[in-house]
Amino acid sequence: MAYPMYEVDWSVLPPEQNRRSVIKLIRVFSVDCIPIGLLLEQNRRFNPAFNIATIKQVVNEAIERVRMPTPTRLRDLIRQIRAARTAAEERSVVNKECAYIRSTFREEDSVWRCRNIAKLLYIHMLGYPAHFGQLECLKLIASPRFTDKRVGYLGAMLLLDERQDVHLLITNCLKNDLNSNTQFVVGLALCTLGAIASPEMARDLASEVERLIKSPNAYIKKKAALCAFRIIRRVPDLMEMFLPATRSLLTEKNHGVLITGVTLITEMCENSPDTLNHFKKIVPNLVRILKNLILAGYSPEHDVSGVSDPFLQVKILRLLRILGKNDAEASEAMNDILAQVATNTETSKNVGNTILYETVLSIMDIKSESSLRVLAINILGRFLLNNDKNIRYVALNTLLRTVHVDNSAVQRHRTTILECLKDPDVSIRRRAMELSFALINGQNIRSMMKELLSFLERSDAEFKAHCSSAMVLAAERYAPNNKWHLDTLFRVLLKAGNYLRDDTVSSTLQIVSGAAAERQAYAAMRLWTSLERSAVSGDATEKQPLVQVATWTIGEYGDLLVSEASNAISMVDEDGVDDFVRPTEEYVIDVYQKLLWCTQLSITTKEYLLLSLAKLSTRFTTQPSQEKIRVIIDTFGSHIHIELQQRGVELSQLYRNYAHLRGALLERMPPMDPAPGAGAALLRDDSDLEPDAPSPDHKPDQDALLDLIIGSDSLTNGDVEHKPSQPPPSNSSNDILDLLSGLELTPSAPAPVALNNNKDVGAPPASLLLDGLFASPALTQLAPPQELAHVTALDKNGLLVVLGVQRGGDSVTLTMRATSTASATLSDFLFQAAVPRTFQLDMMSPSGTVLPPQGEITQVLKITNPSRTQLRLRIRVSYNVDGSPVLEQAEVNNFPPDLFN
């Protein structure tokens, strides 16, 4: 049932009677919900006796009559939903209304579409599906009425996702409305474009937006400028067309235009170094605008508690920071104004602190005068003591960003920062923790570690992993001596529990194995105390890394643990307590047995335990303990887990057929080569567990071999090249290798080297067990697709991005390999690529976002090219190094010409 409410055919309703009085009455009653067509009909039969009561009655009747078939009003629906007492009741109201709305959509009811969409938007906010309204929104947008458009665009912003077909339709609507004569219609279209611009939409509408930036109307100008900002975000390629129009934005008086202009320029400068240089010349303009803001008297329009337009000030300060970075001349030009802002801004309110915060960041980032830096650090010092939590957080955040610039200045606030580690607020704790790690050096390592250890103990799970690895790293870098280093590592093991990352275990073992004999005995004794305690108290399952390290160490140096000869070693710990009790051999084995039969320990841990136990059979001398060990090992011959069963069987053979080999096989391992720096790199991140950076002519089958060794899952996966990343080593499969080859075969080492080392070590059981692995038939099946060529896409600041090209019909597969020779870890690594519009690009997910020194990130790109033209590729690489973001762009044109044929 459609009422011709908004499409009244005026000719059929001659103004035969004056309706004004009636209409006025109607307005008094609920105006916006009555289909006027009917009312007017009503009116024609209406006897115009000007008795107000009669009129009221008639109108009331009319309203009641026409109300019935009309949809519920938005307000009424909201009331109904709010009146629902239970979730089920609410659901039934919503479902009924949704069914009704659907039916009106089906009937193409254009009269009530606007109201129905508004209701649907409310329902959508409650979390119910509303996607069926997408097309109706587009119909509303296409309507000439402003109300329809307003609600339609609102719906589009809320309901539309990036689906291709809908987007094509809305692009056309937007194009129409961007050319409208009504500024508000243009405004709606721009607002929508800014919120939901997809790359395709951005490309299609960029020229319209560029035209609107030049509009004389400030209302449209500012919106168009922000649209341009979003377009460049989505499609950086489109930046150049906006450059000419952007320059003039800063000459405007209107603050809306100014702030959007500054935002746009900031984005452009971050986008490309060339543009950054291009905009260097606007520094004086920005300084002038900022100066005017500060010096201008009170202007009610832009005042926020006594500060003139803080929003604009902050945006300008940020742009100045970007322009002045690494540029002495530009920095010089802004020194004075920064000093002025830093000294003149009032700090009693949040607004003032907002501006100071931004100013400090700018001062620390540009090449500013030293006096200015002192001023900035002092401001931060004041911030740190502020009562307001928000300001304290900001201070910590800023100190973290400036700590690399001026470490000694930040050191002065060390006590306050350590105090923040105890704050109940997680945001502040996290910042304080990161800052504490940045402050550790050779002088303060002992006291800092003490604080951090107690922090680690009481911190939440989410901090434990990060905190413990950072502590291990710091200990490695600044340890004053070997004993302290070992003690710290053991404490971290104890306190971080299972949150400790796997790599810490192997690196700790490496350190123990490289230590002097006396230290090894000390380690075994110290770890025994912890192991025994957790075995007795039953919390070993929460401290599995500790169990692993302890059993390995005890397995290797068990003779020193039980021998009276090591009585001379002092076991007094930092608190002056000596709680070491020398165990008997049998007690050690009892503890082992208890742990081995504990069902909650992981298989990996049990593997450690079992092998360690076997080793103890050659370390311990008494007959009963030997017997006990044999019995335990034999029981594993029928263990339900195949890995443990195999070990059980193999090790028990060492008591039978191969008893003569046992002594030699289970000999103590030679010290592991700590490979300078490798340990540190190993600890830094998971992504380190990948092969060394391959050179451009790196053969893929090397990777394949490594895959074979590292991950058992790749045994069945011949198509190694298509895997975006090396699988992170799974514990169960590589730990035998770890154990048997004496940890030489840590996954971070490239495979061939590892194999050689393995031979050097000459541990017979290693090759015994590995034989089975290497004889895998998968080795011969490996036929990695041939890479046609390697194209170097980027080679800058130690970052090398190489694209391996593989052909396949009208599509190519590019394997991006980013390798870094820089000394610092690159975090938040993001690789983006763009192709001309005739191509289609699919990007697989990258193997990681953190690129450690010598590490590698891979990502697979699939490009389809129906037109078979020469491939061009634009790439953009962004990452953070030492906390500062870096952005690189390049165009890759040197692909082999016969790529598609």
């Binding site: 409310y122 906010m125 508000f184 800014g194 702030i259 929003f311 602190n353 928000n390 607020d425």
Partner: protein, 203 residues
């Protein structure tokens, strides 16, 4: 750049959501749910910032409503607080001491105001007056086309007829056009009243 803004009540009910990044609906819901729980779990004395996934959450409570923005790492957190405050001020001015119910029943207006303040995740207007002016003008525009032209379409014809005759402009003074219309209205009204009175036998 702001990635999204959420308004939710102390009971965890979503009141407004504005996304400036394209996520599938499912992900949006997941983020919303997780975030609401996380923010509501924080104590009132804690700071307004929260590092959450790869974004920085800046939130502030006004009466029973939480205003919660997800910003990028580079953004100034304190300024975001000002932005939230500005939005609250605008809502307050528009609704006249705003409360949660205003936002529930007029959520579309709350969206419209936000869209005049922020575009594509960046602030577009620093003058409160300008935002409210733009909203008022659009409300009026909505009113004009929805009510006046529809209810009084014949008046629109009359006005046009006073302005243009036979396709040519006939009067350049606005005042004169309106005077003519007013005079005719008066005439018409008199006639109607006369007719009505005659009908009921009073005349």
């Amino acid at each position: 750049m702001m990635q999204f803004m959420l308004l939710f009540s102390r009971q965890g009910k979503l009141r407004l959501q504005k996304w400036y990044v394209a996520h599938p609906d499912k992900l949006k819901k997941k983020i919303t749910r997780e975030l609401i729980t996380t923010v509501l779990a924080r104590k009132p004395k804690m700071c307004s910032f929260l590092e959450w996934k790869d974004v920085k959450i800046v939130y502030k409570r006004y009466a029973s409503l939480y205003f919660c923005c997800a910003m990028e790492q580079e953004d100034n957190e304190l300024l975001t607080l000002e932005l939230i405050h500005r939005y609250v001020e605008l809502l307050d001015k528009y609704f006249g001491s705003v409360c949660e119910l205003d936002i529930i029943f007029n959520f579309e207006k709350a969206y419209f105001i936000l869209d005049e303040l922020v575009l594509g995740g960046e602030l577009q207007e620093t003058s409160k007056k300008n935002v409210l002016k733009a909203i008022a003008a659009q409300d009026l525009l909505q009113e004009v086309c929805e009510l006046d032209i529809i209810f009084n379409f014949e008046k629109a014809y009359f006005i046009l007829d006073e302005l243009v005759l036979g396709g040519e402009l006939q009067e350049t003074s606005k005042k004169n056009v309106l005077k003519a219309i007013a005079a005719q209205d008066l005439l018409q009204e008199d006639e109607t009243v006369d007719a009505a009175l005659r009908e009921v036998g009073l005349l």
